[in-house]
Symmetry: D3
Subunit: 169 residues, 6 copies
């Protein structure tokens, strides 16, 4: 029995949290991110597209595929079967804004999936435009809203392109 006494000490390492006792629930998350670029770059992209081809569809696909890979990209994430991944974009004064929505029926939340979708979509836009503008920066990637789980609904910001009601249909 004394064998177990040092468990606590060796147990200080990284851990994939045990979610076995958590209920399977509908989980949803919205996240956003931005790419800042010069105004001339933004106008160039809006009218002529990127040097590597259509930006938004490519970034959208990259974001969807990355969301599905979250469990292998982020070391301590649980791999989840996602029911939906959605990304929308809007041009802003200083560049592009990306919004992502993910939902699943799972024992743990899907905010990392939404944040990963946004991050990889931003990286993809960067990659497609870097020949045009080297001074771009990816900014303000954050969680907007979260549903499901012990804490119920958490609202940190306002989804603008993918409205919560849509998700309920």
């Amino acid at each position: 029995m004394s064998t177990w006494t040092h468990v606590d000490q060796t147990g200080q390492g990284v851990r994939m949290v045990d979610i076995s006792a958590k209920p399977v629930m509908r989980r949803r998350a919205w996240a956003e991110g931005h790419i800042r670029m010069s105004e001339s770059t933004r106008r160039h992209l809006q009218t002529q597209g990127s040097p590597k081809g259509p930006i938004l569809e490519t970034a959208r696909l990259a974001g969807i595929q990355a969301a599905k890979q979250t469990g292998s990209l982020i070391p301590l994430c649980h791999p989840l079967s996602l029911d939906e991944v959605r990304l929308e974009f809007e041009w802003t004064d200083d560049g592009l804004r990306v919004e992502a929505f993910v939902q699943a029926e799972a024992r743990t939340g899907v905010e990392m999936e939404a944040l990963t979708a946004v991050s990889v979509a931003c990286l993809t836009v960067y990659d497609m435009c870097k020949a045009v503008d080297r001074s771009m920066a990816i900014a303000n990637i954050r969680l907007l809203r979260k549903e499901g789980g012990r804490s119920g609904q958490v609202q940190l910001g306002e989804p603008r392109l993918i409205r919560p009601l849509d998700a309920d249909v």
Copy 2:
């Protein structure tokens, strides 16, 4: 509220269909594919094997593993936990015929998994034989049968090597 009005427009991009409202059901799919080769090649392979080793077992494994990767290979597919993947082969007059069967309990069908299994099995046969015959072609990859889902049973062709009854045992 008017923020949402342009959702429909921005929402025209690629989408991973929302399956959250679909029921979890037993889903099954059968698919087939063919590799055409010259008669001398086919006879050579049947008697001497391929230059890279045993063809059928290698193609079978490649197909099984590819079925499990469908969710990352096909951009808008949902990743699914498969309960069974099975591939069988038969020599035909003009080459080889591959049949695949996949089943899962899921919110969406498994036909893409069966078609992916068949396609990668065919590519693997091609790879193993290309030193012998350069004029091979992969042909007629199609869905044969599908069970589960709103549309119930769909029969487009006849599975010949993996019979539906087997699956019910």
Copy 3:
């Protein structure tokens, strides 16, 4: 020394061919594939797009990404660093034709990469259109042309959308 005598027998298994003695050369490959669909489906897709969004760009990206994964999808392929992957499409009387071009500087050819790009692009089109037409089939996936390697240039068919001259620029 007699230890080695049964090598030949045990050596009959699958093998990843030893390419260490082959020269590093510029390798190029062109491949094609087709998706057959009903005329009404094809017209619907041309005018209204697919239920899952823009077809051609999605299939193109799926094909590019699959080409890069060939070394893990096809068990006995060598993983290669590709210099270029390109996919083009044209509507045909009975559906869609996909053409892929791949090039690399490598010890082995890139035909499997081109064929894999074509196959996964076809599967992606199938996935995006299957809600509209269940009777589609993927057909005639084959190598068109190959450059580099011991056998020099091999011409099996005519690339129509990505011309060899382009590649030389």
Copy 4:
């Protein structure tokens, strides 16, 4: 009907076992593995760390991530959604001992996930220490205990660092 007669023969190939009829149950598995090294190496590592940085945390993460990839690494394994992966380490007289615990709610057991976690953790330790000691060996990777499934609880050895009671909390 005679079409089916040769199924049995062609059906002798590799197969991913059909688990569709098995009940979804809580499955748990414990496994262990060892890395033997010289005493001087072990002491060096304990006091100075490995040439590539902190050993135990790196091996832990590699083991966790590998457990999640088991379904694609081991050809006939079913991909599972894991609820928890845990790895603990202890220094022994002749090196290091790794213990892994995995749990999931699934139709099939998780022993391959635990064994894969242990194996990749051992390979990672090897990789981080190989500049110091070339004569290391990985030894005695085995299943310790298994819960869930038709056969109920199976005890082959004694988990020392991750006690079964912990798992039940």
Copy 5:
């Protein structure tokens, strides 16, 4: 010949840039990123660590592994063999700063690899700390410096933790 006339039109799709004519050169890139968090969170993490275990080592490993996956994460990136990936961290007034350095001998630059390393390291920190602080945001991911390639050395910001001279040793 007229077959080729519509190439230009169909050729407007996404493309993996042809790098076959670019010289193989030593390529280096430095990038940075930030995670903003509340001061109490930052102090908590510095003294007590994250709820999921040691943060910095975990984020470092996630960043290293993500850099190696850049070619499959970012759709139009070329897969490269990296010679070195390095990540360093420093605590700042409003959170944590991540710096990444990547080098390779390749036909194209490694800035996407450095930016991907930084992004995934930031996501990993977020994941490990989200139980403590929900209002974190990932900010200002950008390229700092780039060496190799047609444009020679490009300096956009100052690497602070991984100095250029180190790289030359």
Copy 6:
């Protein structure tokens, strides 16, 4: 300038060794591993095969594919383009022995690739036989021989199934 003084301290984390200054050379490695099983199991497998189908070919393929994934499985390994991966098997008194050989032209050695091939081949055999024998163990995975690199040829054991001379042909 003083900014750099704490680099050494922050630099204590895990690191992917910088191999940029190492010469590109022909690298080869041989490794071995064992699976211990009861005599009755071994005889059963030799005469009747495993419950999941042909063991050796499946394990061989799993080993080949794992070798190609070494750079993503083992966190600090460099991804390498392998020229050849070969696995051979022999039945022993207490089970099965696996031998792997890997070669590449690279800046760093391929021993981790050979050890990973052996480990995953052993895990695959375990997976295919676990329904027959639960008391199997994987044992004595170690490097046998290594060629190329600063230290020249290193001989730790005797390859028995894949002889060094073969490799030179």
